[in-house]
């Protein structure tokens, strides 16, 4: 783990993007949207375990109770709900254009999905399989995170994220972080929020207080930062989409080094995350 070198490369079809863990934590699903497939890996060793044909998986996640697997099919404008155990399609929503990111309420009743090209955040009731509300949040919404009873949604065509009340769908706060705010993460250990800002202009990470949303620090990192992971030493691993590399940032000193990895690194999973108790998602790290 300490060599910080690429130790293996596995082929995919088109462009792998986001990931999720299966409820038993034995399989890591990685989306390959235009290849219409999910690639399955051993989350500890990284060994390939197979692949599954599924329509246009861009971003996906199990509900906290593991009953359903929800898949955002970005190109095809579908939000698909699969049975968590059998992976059979249960329900297909067509709530808007380019479903992008998603998260759930902790009781698994509601989902929140950003519609990248409809400028809305949409909520579904998974008990009745109906749409609850849709709220216009700003241009090109992306990353979604359930956080302290509210839903946070990044606005890529804007300069930050919005806080939405999950019951009413009303916007309760708007927070400025930087141009092209793309995704939002919670460092579960240190309780710090991070937002990746894609640009234009200054790109990088914004660290925020989880309650007041006050900016603690801005890290300037060029190269199109996307998803991030945090290792046990507290370093932040950042996918740099346009720099073909993963940056490793020491959040204390603000210095970073980078590892070349190949074109368009999108999502990142660190197997040390498996030590974490409770629910593991790409945004809760």
């Amino acid at each position: 783990m300490a060599s910080r070198q690429v130790v293996g490369t596995e082929p995919a079809y088109r462009e792998p993007s986001h990931w999720c863990l299966t409820p038993d934590r034995r399989q890591l699903f990685i989306c390959d949207a235009s290849g219409n497939a999910i690639f399955i890996f051993d989350p500890i060793t990284g060994a390939p375990l197979g692949r599954k044909r599924i329509a246009d998986p861009y971003q996906l996640g199990y509900t906290p109770d593991n009953k359903y697997l929800m898949v955002n099919a970005l190109r095809l404008d579908f939000v698909d709900v699969y049975d968590g155990a059998t992976l059979r399609l249960v329900k297909r929503f067509k709530p808007g254009r380019w479903p992008s990111h998603l998260d759930f309420s902790p009781d698994s009743r509601w989902s929140f999905n950003s519609m990248q090209n409809s400028n809305t955040l949409v909520s579904f009731d998974l008990a009745s399989m109906t749409q609850r509300w849709a709220v216009t949040v700003g241009e090109t919404p992306a990353g979604v995170l359930w956080h302290r009873g509210k839903v946070l949604c990044c606005i890529m065509g804007g300069r930050g994220f919005v806080e939405v009340d999950p019951v009413s769908g009303q916007i309760t706060r708007r927070v400025v972080t930087g141009d092209g705010a793309h995704n939002i993460f919670l460092d579960t250990k240190k309780q710090i929020l991070y937002v990746s800002n894609r640009g234009p202009g200054k790109t990088g990470l914004t660290a925020l207080d989880p309650v007041s949303f006050q900016i603690l620090r801005q890290y300037e990192i060029p190269g199109g930062p996307d998803d991030i992971g945090i290792d046990p030493e507290g370093n932040i691993w950042i996918c740099l989409r346009y720099a073909e590399s993963v940056a490793i940032l020491d959040p204390v000193s603000g210095h970073y080094s980078s590892i070349p990895v190949g074109r368009s690194p999108h999502g990142i999973f660190l197997n040390t995350m498996l030590r974490q108790p409770g629910r593991i998602t790409a945004e809760r790290i």
Binding site: Y13, R51, F78, E139, G157, G180, T203, P222, R241, E244
Partner: protein, 321 residues
């Protein structure tokens, strides 16, 4: 691959500092993911033109088939090249293909069918990108052979293709010299095949570039063949024979653009070691040495006339030949 990395990095800079600010300002950030692909297409396009230029120019100076008093007739081909390789055409093609592919996949998925990719269907392809590319390249090249051969067989289609053949000062710039309508037809031709086999848009940019390079080189004004490998790749000699005055029109030979194997299989190959003057004796002057617009207009006029003739011959009960 080092070169691949360099290009992606250049495209990354281009995206971040040129394209993203524009998308942001125009409220088009939803296209951010695809913008990087557009930049890659441009970078590869520019590099392809540069490499072709760097290789072909000295070769054309060293062993030219023909020497011309001036290069005026070549200039318009340079314009065609930039338009097709770096400019608008590849981006428009990319966006259109993306849209239609998305739309057709959505339709299939709604009817319960998830289209597979070629590398998931054919055993042994997955995980072998070079073999996969070769299969894609052969399928596309075979399709191109038939497109080209058919464009010589129909009167109306050759009326358009004549623009490509009209050039009497054929050089490595001539590859993209085509009528816009002919380009549109090719586009739909490949579109259909691309949808059937599921082309990965940007999986093999370097290899695609290599294929395009062979096509440009095959038009170069160079007295050269590939010797013992002449049957493997289309050489300047092989394609020049297709551009020979004798081969213009409806009975031609050497239609392949990258792999001569199609001409060998379908019995249209001619490996004679001759370097003939190029052109189409029946092509009007505007098509030979006119400006870009004059060439396009004349092509359209000829197409219209040919279409009329084809209709007329159908009308009196004779099969159009």
């Amino acid at each position: 691959m080092g070169l691949d990395r360099l290009f992606s990095n250049i495209a990354g800079y281009m995206d971040q500092y040129l394209v993203l600010p524009v998308l942001f300002r125009l409220h088009w950030m939803a296209w951010d993911d695809l913008a990087f692909d557009w930049c890659l297409i441009c970078v590869y396009g520019i590099f392809a033109v540069l490499v072709t230029y760097a290789v072909c120019l000295p070769l054309e100076a060293w062993r030219p088939v023909e020497r011309w008093p001036d290069n005026k007739a070549v200039l318009v081909d340079v314009f065609y090249t930039f338009l097709n390789r770096v400019g608008v055409t590849p981006i428009v093609t990319f966006v259109l293909f993306y849209q239609v592919q998305t739309w057709s996949t959505g339709l299939l998925v709604e009817h319960g069918f998830i289209p597979p990719t070629l590398d998931s269907l054919v055993p042994g392809l997955f995980g072998h990108p070079l073999v996969t590319f070769l299969v894609y390249a052969l399928i596309l090249d075979c399709a191109d052979y038939w497109r080209h051969r058919l464009s010589h067989s129909f009167r109306w289609w050759y009326a358009l293709h004549a623009l490509h053949h009209a050039q009497t000062q054929m050089s490595f710039w001539s590859d993209d010299r085509n009528h816009l309508l002919d380009d549109v037809i090719s586009f739909f031709w490949f579109f259909t095949i691309g949808l059937l086999i599921g082309i990965p848009p940007l999986q093999f940019p370097l290899l695609l570039m290599a294929m395009k390079f062979i096509e440009s080189l095959s038009h170069a004004n160079i007295r050269a063949s590939f010797g013992p490998l002449e049957w493997l790749f289309v050489s300047p000699r092989f394609h020049r024979f297709h551009h020979g005055l004798r081969a213009a029109g409806r009975h031609s030979c050497n239609y392949a653009s990258v792999f001569p194997v199609w001409d060998i299989i379908f019995r249209t190959a001619d490996f004679r070691d001759e370097y003939l003057p190029t052109g189409d004796a029946r092509a009007p002057a505007a098509l030979v040495s006119g400006s870009y617009l004059a060439q396009q207009a004349t092509g359209l006029k000829l197409f219209w006339q040919a279409l009329g003739k084809s209709w007329a011959s159908l009308g009196i009960g004779r099969a159009a030949s």
